[in-house]
Symmetry: D2
Subunit: 116 residues, 4 copies
């Protein structure tokens, strides 16, 4: 699994290189493509009652459909990371470190902070 | 790096468990949270002319800001994969396999398909 | 109120013209700006339990915050309609006409169609 | 045109009432539906080079497709305004008033502020 993520990145780079599609991968286009996939993900869930979402998506076919849209989001995210030449996983580790400090266990345990 | 992704997943699970936040992680809430982070990413790029985006975001500080918003998207995507109990990287490999067949190199080389 | 919408469009056009900002209003930038505002809207609701959202946002201050983000979405939507030179309200009327036919009352009454 | 917007709101209310769909119109579901439509809008533009977007979408068919997705965004925005019982156009006027003060013509003329 761990191995698979690095493989996925390499494979996606190879996929674009073979098709000469990197030239389309400017950041604004990639973000719009990512938004398109987020939209397809949202559509799957929009009218499912919130408290039934886990049950409805335990169905293997629906779960797989959700996984496909999520994969598309991930793939464009990796494409954007390449376009900007940044190491996404490494920055995500930094963000988690910051979140651990920002939300001390003792203060936030069991209580999600609402956005003001 | 490869190792880091599996570590990131484990670390994020641990983060939520310690704060008892999994109860908030229903799919619709997670997708809205992901949309929030995509929005912050989009805001960074919105008024940057498309052909200057790579240059503007070569600046280390701006690049890092973009990486932070992208990390947040990745983190909620991992949270959603956990909420739905699916293996995101494995489905993404399937999607790439399908894309390789759907877009034969000979037919699409150098030409991005427009959405109808 | 009816009058206000036409006034709003005119006022927003005037706002951009006075600032010489129309040159930034290319469609891709406007969609990214709209995505940014949708993200801010989503953030307000993300961790509010679905069945409490109406109660929580009956609070005048929170309701007004939501209205502000929704206004930003509306404003960029009007900006995009101007950039593309199309009459949004008139196309929306056509869409409603199509929806009335696509979802006959007898067939869909009380049942929201799920996205496949 | 001005008249049409108030008519559009009334007509959409009537559409939902006749189908007994208001019960699905909780705020989180409506925002996800709106995100779905924003995604479809983004997909139309994603791979179109930014400096050709206006030309490509001058084509009547493509322009109309864009208008349809934008209409869907508008319609869900109106649905959310109804669900929250707020007057969207009136709040949008307030936002423009605030924007006029926040961005004095003398200071920002010809220069779009970048998001930090």
């Amino acid at each position: 699994m761990a191995e698979d993520f690095a493989e996925l990145q390499e494979r996606y780079r190879h996929f674009r290189r073979e098709r000469d599609w990197d030239k389309y991968n400017d950041p604004k286009s990639l973000i719009l493509a990512l938004v398109g996939e987020v939209g397809e993900l949202a559509e799957l869930f929009q009218w499912v009652p919130a408290d039934q979402a886990n049950v409805v998506f335990a169905d293997p076919e629906r779960k797989h459909r959700a996984g496909e849209e999520m994969s598309d989001v991930l793939i464009y995210l990796m494409g954007l990371a390449d376009a900007l030449d940044l190491d996404l996983v490494s920055v995500a580790h930094e963000k988690l470190t910051a979140a651990e400090k920002r939300f001390p266990i003792d203060e936030v345990r069991g209580v999600a902070p609402l956005k003001k």
